[in-house]
């Protein structure tokens, strides 16, 4: 084993360099680099597109200097080899692109892409040398940090990560600071000049130093501080917790006033996704029933709201109820559909269940779209002028006011999901998830338990759909494709299946970020796909794992812990 490692490390390094190069070229050919180039990370200097390329080089150099059995010098060399090979691949691609017109096949092999890749240097041979030099330097730095300085590794990488995040989210930060002109003026040096995106150089350096300092401090003194906090009396800890929750609650209440209409609208979409995520989390996360047709319940909730609060399609169901009158019916229709889907698929497991539910979602969408049901649901034109909710004569039709309806719904759903988790039913769901046959042998009624999971999940989906209809005031069948189901699934998987904080984190990351970063939205599903694969390969329990899952994935530590205590 040892022998093999020492003889073939350079081959592995070249291999991962080639893969890195292919990925970098692919990122260019699918247009990612060009469209990310439009956003600056450091105002006027480094764009998101260039950062993406650098990240690819860094990532592959980092992973090829990973083998801890090798001496440090070998690890660094192997990282540099990888980086150089990656840059060489890019140079080869540029040479090919100069010789052949790739654009007749690859629509994104545009002059703009070549311009970005050659670093806007007009002299080609100079540009090629520059690319290779940059690749070598960056990979040298990355593998040095990785191999030689384990203590600084975390500090430096988190520093860069926070700078990147801050630069990406600067729209959000700027908008939410507008009500506080004082802070804005104090922080103005941090960002690029007016009209520019990204951080200023000074801002980036200061942020990096602050974050690095904080993490350095935490690494030195964090353990002692945590111990001190642990030692506080129980009453003080409880007050602290309450204060924290109170501050969070206050923040949530005043958020739309800070955020303004555009950000509130984004928040509302995130809220609806979280609501759906909470529902699907019950079906997939608690009960382990993979449902790919979850969007059907969302669609049913939305269309029920549409039909009941308007004059419907061509045939008049002239009810024209208010939002609040129609809301329970939207939920009930979704629950009934959940049970109706649940009954036939009770006996079906795993992969088949996924396909059948996917088929169910498509059936519902095609039915709403068809001429057959057009008189009732308006076919592809959908239903328009759906009522907005009113409270005491105030019409909640702006994003800033509708926010409170969604917030309330999220809280109700969160409360229900939280209380269900450790209840008798919740434990039955988990038992089914782990092993259906054993659960049945333990006296769990599979029929009732599974149907309850489908029904509860569907109820949240229907609620979310009903609010969605009121939010847009129109519903079209085209809003309810498989892609929505996949988005919700990705959200709960990234957060951690079965974990409630995970749903919220997943919702913020996967529903919120793409809305804020318009360059991302085109590649949203590509990135989600990559995320699903990467999460499953490396971190199947999710970012905020549920306690049980965490225990499963870290069994050894717990065993030693139990033995010690």
């Amino acid at each position: 084993m040892e022998q093999e490692n020492t003889t073939s490390w350079w081959r592995k390094a070249i291999q991962s360099g080639v893969i890195g190069g292919i990925i970098a070229i692919l990122a260019g050919l699918i247009g990612m680099i060009e469209s990310f180039h439009a956003r600056d990370i450091i105002a006027g200097r480094i764009s998101m597109g260039e950062t993406l390329l650098l990240l690819i080089v860094i990532g592959f150099a980092y992973s090829s200097s990973r083998n801890e059995q090798l001496p440090i010098s070998t690890r660094v060399t192997s990282g540099v080899i990888t980086g150089v090979v990656t840059s060489l691949m890019i140079v080869l691609f540029l040479m090919l692109g100069a010789a052949v017109n790739l654009r007749s096949i690859f629509v994104n092999a545009s002059p703009a892409l070549y311009k970005i890749l050659t670093l806007e240097i007009a002299n080609t041979s100079l540009a090629y040398i520059a690319i290779i030099v940059i690749g070598a330097v960056v990979s040298l730095a990355a593998s040095l940090v990785h191999a030689a300085t384990p203590f600084w590794k975390r500090i430096i990488s988190s520093g860069f990560a926070i700078v990147l995040l801050l630069a990406l989210l600067q729209d959000l930060i700027r908008i939410s600071l507008t009500p506080f002109p004082f802070i804005t003026s104090v922080l103005s040096w941090m960002f690029g000049r007016r009209g520019q995106e990204g951080l200023s150089i000074l801002g980036a350096i200061v942020v990096f130093l602050i974050v690095a300092g904080a993490i350095y401090n935490d690494a030195k003194n964090g353990a002692a501080r945590r111990a001190r906090r642990e030692a506080l009396p129980e009453a003080a800890k409880r007050t602290r917790r309450w204060v924290n929750w109170g501050l969070l609650g206050l923040f949530l209440l005043i958020w739309p006033q800070i955020a303004g209409p555009v950000l509130s609208d984004v928040t509302n979409s995130v809220g609806l996704y979280i609501l759906m995520g909470l529902g699907l989390n019950i079906v997939v996360g608690y009960a382990g029933l993979l449902d790919l047709g979850y969007v059907a319940f969302y669609a049913l909730g939305a269309f029920t709201m549409g039909v009941l609060t308007t004059t419907g399609g061509e045939i008049f169901f002239d009810v024209r109820w208010t939002f609040w009158e129609a809301l329970p019916f939207a939920v009930i229709v979704a629950v009934l559909a959940g049970i109706m889907l649940g009954i036939p698929v009770l006996k079906i497991r795993g992969d088949y269940l996924a396909i059948i539910t996917l088929g169910f979602g498509e059936i519902i969408r095609i039915m709403f779209l068809s001429d057959f049901l057009k008189p009732y649901f308006g076919g592809s034109f959908g239903i328009v002028s759906i009522a907005s909710p009113t409270i005491g004569g105030i019409v909640l039709d702006s994003p800033q006011t509708l926010y409170y309806v969604i917030l309330a719904a999220c809280f109700v759903a969160l409360f229900v999901a939280h209380r269900l988790r450790d209840s008798r039913i919740g434990r039955a769901w988990k038992a089914i998830r782990e092993d259906e046959d054993v659960a049945q042998a333990m006296g769990i009624n599979l029929t009732a338990t599974k149907l309850l999971a489908f029904a509860t999940g569907a109820a949240f989906g229907g609620l979310s759909g009903a609010i969605f209809a009121a939010k847009l005031s129109t519903v079209y069948p085209h809003s309810f494709t498989l892609i929505t189901s996949i988005n919700v699934l990705a959200l709960i998987i990234v957060g951690g299946m079965g974990s409630l904080p995970g749903v919220i984190v997943g919702g913020l990351l996967l529903a919120g970020l793409p809305e804020l970063l318009r360059e991302f939205s085109e590649y949203r599903l590509l990135i989600f796909g990559i995320l699903l694969i990467v999460m499953m390969l490396n971190k199947p329990e999710g970012f905020v794992p549920e306690a049980v899952h965490k225990r499963e994935f870290h069994e050894d530590e717990n065993l030693s812990h139990a033995a010690g205590g």
Binding site: L29, I343, I356, G359, F372, L526, I533
Partner: protein
């Protein structure tokens, strides 16, 4: 005795019975009414049948990919529909350039063979790549995990190809040599349909012979039976799995060309619906069963082309053809409910299903 019998019937069975009876009733009434009204001539019905067989043989080719992989790994290769798309979409560029130079008209057979080669090669490469990246590291993981990576891989492929080739529908060039049709009595069959049916039949025969009579085929069957024992017998299981993926992917690539010359349109999203249909076909025939996938494909194709008119037209449903996908999906649900083993499949034990 009677009491014991009553005890054995549970709520689920009753509910399923009612659903099944209602659907069968609907189908019978619908068909009866349509036939009684007699709006369609024999010739039209025969057209539907021919179209159904041609469509079905494309489904069958794709279904073989699902079935081969399922037989060996007991998992649904969700990304298979994208493997199908990749071949067809990539070959489009060759088709266009050959059409421009006139080669497609002057040497149609060679040109189409070149298209087949390109599509099959691309699909095979993609299929093997997906196996390597998304499935192989997860061989021992819980079953939900590879399923989720498969969904992920499917989206990555779709949107990578969207990024590479653009998001418009692209029209495949029309081949003049394949225009026109043959007629025997009431049966009318276009040249394209002849090509589709014959090449699908040829490929399926080839696959059958390969699996039955070559050493690799024998090894595949052994791995499908029991991976661990096969490994003990000196079979390189990973290599066999890769070959299985390659085989299924190559067939999907060929199906992609047949689909393209039939519908003459490609797009990055084109794999989704045929993919689910082919999966349905595989389940219909009994998943894991090679002749079953062929039969299931043809059967589904027929059902889908005749079904909407036969079942729904008599019930005065407007534009019944819009609901053909609903019929195919309902078919999937019904098969899984009442005969999960499919037409030819062995009885799956509960743990397998």
């Amino acid at each position: 005795m009677r009491q014991r019998f009553l005890n054995r019937i549970n709520f689920t069975d009753i509910a399923l019975g009612i659903i099944g009876a209602a659907l069968v009733g609907l189908i019978v009434i619908g068909s009866f009414k349509t036939l009684a009204e007699g709006n369609y001539t024999t010739r039209q019905w025969l057209d539907f049948v021919v179209f159904g067989i041609a469509q079905g043989s494309i489904y069958a080719l794709i279904a073989l990919g699902y079935t081969l992989v399922y037989g060996i790994l007991r998992m649904i290769n969700f990304a298979h529909s994208e493997v199908f798309m990749a071949g067809s979409f990539t070959a489009y560029f060759a088709a266009v350039s050959m059409a421009k130079s006139g080669f497609l008209e002057s040497n149609t057979i060679i040109a189409v063979l070149i298209l087949f080669a390109i599509a099959m090669f691309t699909s095979t490469a993609i299929g093997v790549l997906v196996e390597r990246v998304a499935y192989r590291p997860l061989r021992r993981a819980p079953r939900l995990v590879p399923l989720i990576t498969a969904i992920g891989a499917s989206f990555v492929l779709q949107y990578t190809f969207k990024g590479l080739y653009g998001d418009q529908f692209k029209a495949y060039p029309e081949i003049d040599t394949l225009k026109g049709s043959y007629t025997w009595g009431d049966i009318n069959i276009t040249k394209v349909q002849v090509v589709v049916i014959l090449s699908a039949a040829f490929l399926m025969l080839l696959l059958y012979l390969y699996v039955q009579f070559t050493k690799t085929g024998k090894a595949m069957r052994a791995v499908a039976e029991d991976k661990d024992v096969a490994a003990l017998m000196g079979i390189d299981v990973d290599a066999i799995i890769v070959r299985t993926f390659a085989l299924g992917a190559a067939l999907a690539g060929a199906a992609g060309i047949l689909y393209a010359i039939t519908f003459r349109q490609v797009n990055f999203f084109m794999g989704f619906i045929p993919g689910i249909k082919a999966f349905t076909a595989a389940v219909l025939g009994g998943i894991g069963n090679i002749p079953g996938a062929m039969l299931g494909g043809i059967f589904l194709g027929l059902f889908e082309s005749i079904g909407p008119i036969l079942f729904l037209d008599g019930l005065n449903v407007p534009a019944p053809y819009q609901l053909k996908d609903v019929i195919a999906f309902s078919m999937l649900v019904l098969v899984l409910l009442f005969r999960p083993s499919g037409i030819l499949g062995e009885r799956l034990s509960r743990t397998k299903a």
